[in-house]
């Protein structure tokens, strides 16, 4: 096995493993970056009984695994994980260190970057090595998503970035893949100062509309209150929240607290599905920060399609019903 350098690192975030694929996506991207730099991609895996995750990361392309399998690291803890990851960075000196912009990644990475006095870009949507200068260019949305900023960390190392889930594609699972396994020494671990006392699956109080990752919006074109209620079913199936346009609120299909737009709330979910909304400016002002927009409308000339990544010309109720039926069948 080639035991060359390993200068591109990925933090192995295995929380919510089957939903959260971002670590696998970053291994794929990290491997591509590493090959441009003539080096290998490594994954840092901390925890207890992490063998299953290590195997998955190897099968998805990791060249090197830096692992600590230790009871003290059983539960995610920002201070403990910072202490370990930062000390390993100081031993191995990677050039690039990536993590998913997950709840934990967003807490952990700023802390590691600060300890190492290096730069960190947030929520990147593209990463590349600039061919002319060799700079590691981290592209991140700026000013509410209207602009993209290409960020570089010219001097300090490693160049750190958190990356939005779903941007890169994971490599296919290869059960015969091999990797180098390293158990670096553990530093003195700080004591845990934060204790999770209770943790329970929460359905009643979900992320509020403005924080939701998925938002389903209905407008006048949904047609009736009964049809509008199906939006809640769809939101439930996708773990999202329901928003409404002014006409839908005025019709009494949804409360004022769900109103989106100039006189209502602004949302910026990963996915927004907007159904039976024509795309009036008063409404679209509140959804401009959404990453992916799927619009369903009967009228192919509706302005909402100008904003949509995927536009579906069809009957709102028919599409809604079929979609719910199909999702129910798959769950």
């Amino acid at each position: 096995m080639d035991r060359g350098t390993c200068l591109v690192w990925v933090f192995g975030d295995y929380a919510d493993y089957f939903q959260n694929r971002v670590t696998l996506q970053l291994i794929a991207k990290g491997k591509a970056l590493a090959s441009e730099l003539g080096t290998r991609v490594g994954v840092v895996v901390l925890g207890e009984d992490i063998g299953q995750y290590v195997m998955e990361y190897v099968a998805h392309g990791a060249d090197v695994i830096y692992a600590a399998d230790n009871n003290a690291l059983k539960d995610y803890d920002v201070e403990l994980f910072t202490a370990v990851a930062a000390s390993w960075v100081e031993i191995f000196r990677p050039e690039i260190f990536l993590a998913g912009a997950t709840a934990f990644g967003r807490e952990l990475f700023p802390r590691i970057a600060k300890r190492l006095r290096t730069g960190l870009s947030a929520d990147c949507v593209a990463l590349e090595i600039d061919r002319e200068t060799g700079a590691f260019v981290q592209t991140t949305p700026a000013f509410g998503g209207d602009l993209l900023a290409d960020v570089v960390t010219p001097v300090m190392r490693p160049q750190m970035a958190t990356v939005h889930p779903g941007i890169f594609r994971e490599l296919p699972h290869d059960p015969f893949a091999l990797a180098e396994l390293i158990h670096p020494p553990l530093p003195n671990l700080p004591e845990r100062k934060i204790e999770v006392v209770r943790r329970r699956k929460e359905k009643a109080r979900r992320a509020s509309l403005t924080d939701a990752g998925v938002v389903i919006v209905g407008g006048k074109g949904v047609g009736s209150r009964a049809n509008f209620d199906k939006l809640f079913q769809l939101a439930e199936l996708l773990g999202g929240e329901v928003g409404a346009t002014r006409p839908a609120v005025n019709a009494g299909w949804a409360g004022e607290e769900r109103l989106l737009g100039q006189t209502g709330k602004s949302v910026r979910p990963r996915l927004l599905i907007t159904i039976g909304t024509s795309g009036a400016l008063q409404y679209t002002a509140g959804i401009r920060g959404s990453e992916t927009v799927i619009a369903v409308n009967r009228d192919h000339s509706a302005p909402i399609f100008g904003l949509a990544d995927l536009g579906i010309v069809g009957d709102a109720d028919r599409i809604l019903s079929l979609l719910i039926e199909e999702l129910n069948r798959r769950l």
């Binding site: 967003r106 970057a113 730069g119 960190l120 290409d150 924080d211 996708l238 996915l271």
Partner: protein, 210 residues
Amino acid sequence: MGPPQSEEALFEAIAAGADRGVLLTDPCFAGADTLATSHVLARAISRLEPLPSVVFCGNNTTDSDTGHVGPQVAEELGLPQVCGIFEVQPESLQTLLAKRVRDGYLETIRAACPVLFTVKGVSEPVLLPGLGSLQSAFSAGSIVRWGRNELDLTMDETGLTGSATRVWRLRAAPHRTKGEILTGQAHDLVKEILKRLEAMSLVEEEQIHG
């Protein structure tokens, strides 16, 4: 921390109940990334008397929206951090219980003071100060201004020179007009939607039967 006019936000905070405000302002603070920003904030907090038992931060700012500053202030001050809480109450003289929603779970967290919280999606409605309290906030004169000198910072530690990152270039985000618009049978259209949901890992891919 901000330009002199951000003092208005402190007047609003005092009108809403804060006892005093400290405005961190200096031309050399401009252009800071999160590393340099958190350095100035942490230095200022470490100069407060008495030292705070709890530091509350917002989740993110409206301009660059990284969510990094809270954790980085905590790191520099050596404080534990709990991010994204929507509720907090005292449990004992030394401990607090905070609630947050994370990855679909409602978590109750016990934290010992001193601690830093970032706050997101507070469930209680915010009590907006009335005009009267705003007026008395303006006349109270309880805001101090600290700059680089008051905080004993060197130029190298602040602003752009104290930052590890550089914005290399800004460019317009690609417009969304290139999205596909599909017509056809409802079944086929729903399949297209499902493909997108699969690509975003929101639903699992259809198992191949047989």
